[in-house]
Amino acid sequence: MNCLPKSDIRESFPILSTVFDDGKKLIYLDNAASTQKPRCVIERLKRFYESENANVSRGAHRLGNIATSEYETARDQIANFIGANPEEMIFTSGTTESINAIVYGWGEENVKKNDEIVVLVSEHHSNFIPWQQLAKRKEAFFKVVSVRRDGTLDLNEFKKAITNRTKVVAIAQVTNTFGVIHPIDEIVEIAHSKGAITVVDGAQSVPHILTNVKEMNADFLAFSGHKMLGPMGIGGLYISKKRIGEMRPFFFGGGMIDRVYNDRTKFANPPQKYEAGTPNVAGAIGLAEAVKFLKKVGMAEILDHERQLLEYSYHKLDGINGLALYGTRDLEKRVGVLSFNIEGVHPHDVATILDFQGVAIRSGHHCAQPFMRYLGIHYTARASFYFYNSVEDVDALTDAIKDVKERFS
């Protein structure tokens, strides 16, 4: 299995050569929702199921040994990718499960009445509702901090919002709506200075920006495999050494115990303690393969490429009458997400009309209703790039946008 990205990276992704029945070519610009999978990841899954498949850890046979050692090697590689130690990273089904796991495993025990939980108004529902509901259960304050209309955070405003009563600060390093990169190091530092713990939603950052949890110094980091070339149904949660002692298991079951008595249970050590039941072994192994691919492409190169596409998009679209482009103009503070609206045209219509041309984008509230409401808009259309997108893809996008404008004018 050669996983080296080909000179033409697109060829490593079978789906990218899709031509639909009507002759339209697929131009996939919905990467913030889910990325496509390189051949090596698809083949790795196949190989696992064809020659290595077994449940992990508790078997004493050859396949069990292979599955177990591949699973733990996957953990090593993925943990290493985010700068963590293997025993600090647990596998989950994705960012949503990871964040809910923090809420159940850490929040239920540690958040008390009158504590404050702080999020930004621009959070994805997966990093918003779990905290909102926890606050409700605990009679804690759920504090929603505003951002600027361009999606960026005013650090001074943020600082004022953090008090000695702040127990949790939960923030996406990169927003999925506008692709804005928040100054996560400063945010973590401010939160810690008041004694709050920090939860970083890395769903949109880990796939696009080199991540090092130790430098970031966050207490928790959540991410999804499917947004970074990996299979669906697998993701990760980093738990710092400091927090792991305060966290109770959130799922109970097989594989996470030392001894079970009728009246009590002694749990295993982390990471097993937090991984109940049969894990998604194939998913973990597939994600490890994805991470290898990303490393070979290079995280710096990925971000750089996305920025270039973003700049090129602005170059082609800027100044068009009635076209709103959202997010800060300082593109250094952005990953390759382009949210926009065409005056008088509902973004669903934009998406459908683009889709006729084979251009796949997303439209809607992007699981960020509080942010949309705050901005006074209902939805946006959103194109999101990854390293396999090309300048030609952007041309197709921008031409199609112009076509919509004309059609509706």
Partner: protein
């Protein structure tokens, strides 16, 4: 299918100039329905004359499909009986589900046949019809 089939002239016309758009001064029932998959919403108001829909109006926000569908729906049901309106609604919903219809009564609404190819957009086309059904149910004796 071509773009021009789904976004046919007639649809574009209704979305630009929706008929019966706004509110009624006098109404017997008002319904607020949302499309939870996208958040679009419609407010539908009806005034009856006995068993007949004598006046109808809608407002809200939605895409071209939902707006034009609402507009065409209000034109279709204005002046007809509750019973007849319900029948039309069933026929419309069936049409966008299977992608075709034999029903001439649906008139201009037949342009929404093509939406069946966009399962996630069928809800846009049926939103106003569901609001209508809800309104009729509420005023049923």
């Amino acid at each position: 299918m071509e773009i021009s089939e789904l976004y046919a002239d007639i649809i574009m016309d209704h979305q630009r100039n929706p008929r019966n758009y706004g509110t009624l001064e006098e109404k017997d029932v008002e319904v607020h329905t949302t499309n939870s998959s996208c958040g679009d919403e419609i407010f539908l108001e009806i005034k009856f004359d006995g068993d007949k829909i004598s006046q109808i109006a809608f407002h809200g926000h939605g895409c071209a499909i939902s707006k034009s569908s609402a507009s065409i729906m209000t034109e279709l049901v204005k002046g007809i009986s509750k019973q007849k309106a319900l029948e039309l609604s069933k026929k419309f919903v069936e049409m966008v589900k299977i992608g075709k219809t034999q029903e001439r009564e649906l008139k201009d609404a037949v342009v929404f046949q093509g939406v069946s190819q966009y399962p996630l957009r069928t809800k846009c086309a049926t939103l106003s019809w569901h609001a209508l059904e809800e309104a009729l149910k509420r005023t049923a004796v």
